[in-house]
Symmetry: C2
Subunit: 351 residues, 2 copies
């Protein structure tokens, strides 16, 4: 059988990004042959260094090249030497918006052997998927500042929500929920305060939900949801929410599921009009960069999501299983380096 | 000595509101005589029932009466029979905005004897105060909906932030921090995405901070903050943040400090141009209303904050101590009713 070739763009980025991406690729390279896959990798030098060198976060020409790839793996973006927001908005969010990653998919799952900060909570208690909207809401960048630096300054940020944008992400969430055993979808918003946006989400949930009678829906204010994540995580199966609420609750999700070192994500364009992008939820963690201390597991799990996205479910399961086994055996072990963890997982997937 | 008379407006509200307020007043009545205080109470019938009867959430005339009071105690507002947002925006937020409650003060404190869902966390690990902005940000209600109900609907919500509004709440937070042993103030925002509003908060923090060299400041993205609340709560002393982020993180705060039944808050007008309002963080909990199951402790602790606000610090400390003793002894006890808890605390403050 001829091997299948997949064009993979790699954006290692800043801080610990390159370290964790190296391990993610190690695992990908280890699993690919067994499934007759070849990843044609192109590395893109984007992030703080390039911005300092050229003043550009994401040149148009690079964005166009990215469009020609099948899928993207990203490490992390951001550095204290760059003003806050420049790389986040200019590189990360720009990519998500331009490539229409309207689904930001974030599983929250406690693996056996992993320590959660919650008392008395077992792996079966934390197993959910957050479907976070990725292309509108409070992340649009719409807004501005008037009379900057004066006592009369006004700074605004606008959350823009469209029926088009809300419907497609809600529909995706129903599809995810319909395939899971519990078939439960919770809308998280703040409809008693953000009445216009919240009402739109509620109406769309109801309308689209009529097509999925097998899925049970409910609603939870974002403030209550964060509380339930901590004291009743069993409550959630699939969650759909806007960009900002999704950002917040998936970090709590990461915390309860054993930490940001394990949280994977996909920026997905379900219509496949442009490549999707997979990345760990964590940031560039400049304080530990270059020390081999970062846990590459989140990136490896993002690689599994990437494999799923390109239709290689079996390969994805193999990577996930390797991670699960590795995590189950970490218990009681001393600290391992970034590369040691990558090596251990790579060995399991190829072995 | 002639007794001091204080005009107290009482808004029991909906659901468990009246039950918990009754216990709050029981404790207030028990502590008042020892400090020669008289509370002239006026009860206001506001909430779902009134809205159904009259179509009004908060008549202008009632708002004017409230202005003439010294201080307000509120139970909870909201009922499933009323469309989401009607009472929240029309009664609760309207009161906060009209009476210029620009500080929403929310202590997060783990009392000895109280069970936290976090493993290995002790009372000394959770002791912070969140200073939440109360009169602007994403809570303004600015925004709207276009082409409602069509596939081309657009719904917007605008976060409006002013130098005036940000500076006064940040200054208040510095004052709070300066009086605490650790003298540490953390700004929580999302300045890498909400760049206009975040930048305004950052610049104000820096400018006002120059007047408080004894206070250490730092910054934390809201997503990271929620994670730290769960796995590193020791990190926080005083937190200042906007209305929406404050809403979210104080619910996690409540969760880690033993649950929403213990979380107190004050909607404070520090300039005293209008009465401040004290209320438990929890909502109306219609599912357990009328059953004597609600924990009135959050309301009792809100009464302690109210006493502090009217300058009766000693009386406030006595109520807090009574709550602390009650909580320390609850351990191992069976469930007590709302009134039993109120009685026990009232007995301690008068005894
Ligand atoms: C870096 C930042 C812009 C980003 C976000 O807010 O989406 C990050 O927090 C995430 O969750 O991927
Ligand atoms: C009821 C609601 C409007 C309110 C808020 O969001 O402020 C509540 O959640 C709170 O925290 O007091």
């Amino acid at each position: 059988m001829a091997s299948r070739s997949i064009r993979l763009a790699v954006i290692p980025g800043d801080g610990i990004g390159p370290e964790v991406v190296a391990e993610g690729l190690k695992v990908l390279d280890a699993v690919a042959p067994a499934f007759d896959l070849t990843f044609e990798q192109t590395a893109y030098d984007l992030g703080a260094a390039r911005w300092h060198r050229t003043g550009e976060a994401l040149p148009d020409s690079v964005l166009e090249e990215l469009r020609g790839q099948d899928v993207i793996l990203l490490g992390a973006v951001g550095d204290p030497s760059v003003p806050s927001g420049v790389l986040e908005r200019g590189l990360l969010l720009r990519t998500r918006f331009e490539l229409d990653h309207y689904v930001n998919l974030r599983p929250v799952k406690l693996f056996p052997g992993v320590q959660t900060p919650l008392a008395g909570i077992k792996p079966e208690d934390i197993d959910m998927v957050v479907v976070r909207e990725g292309t509108e809401g409070p992340y649009t960048g719409v807004g501005g500042v008037l009379r900057k630096g004066t006592p009369h300054e006004v700074a605004t940020q606008e959350s823009v929500n469209t029926a088009f944008g809300v419907e497609r992400v809600v529909r995706y969430a129903f599809e995810v929920a319909a395939k899971r055993p519990r078939k439960r979808l919770t809308l998280v918003h703040k409809d008693n305060v953000l009445t216009f946006a919240g009402d739109l989400y509620q109406r769309v949930l109801k309308r689209v939900g009529a097509e999925y009678p097998q899925v049970t829906t409910d609603y939870c204010h974002v403030d209550a949801a964060t509380m339930f994540f901590v004291n009743q995580p069993q409550r959630f199966d699939v969650v759909v929410t806007d960009n900002l609420f999704g950002d917040i609750i998936t970090d709590i999700g990461a915390a309860i599921a054993g930490g940001i070192g394990l949280a994977a994500s996909g920026n997905v364009n379900p219509d496949r009009t442009a490549p999707s992008m997979f990345e760990p939820v964590h940031g560039s963690a400049p304080d530990i960069a270059g020390q081999g201390k970062a846990d590459p597991t989140a990136t490896v799990l993002s690689v599994a999501m990437l494999l799923d996205h390109v239709g290689e479910a079996e390969a994805a399961r193999r990577v996930e299983r390797a991670v699960a086994e590795d995590l189950a055996e970490r218990r009681g072990q001393g600290a391992r380096s970034t590369a040691q963890i990558g090596d251990a997982i790579a060995k399991r997937v190829s072995g």
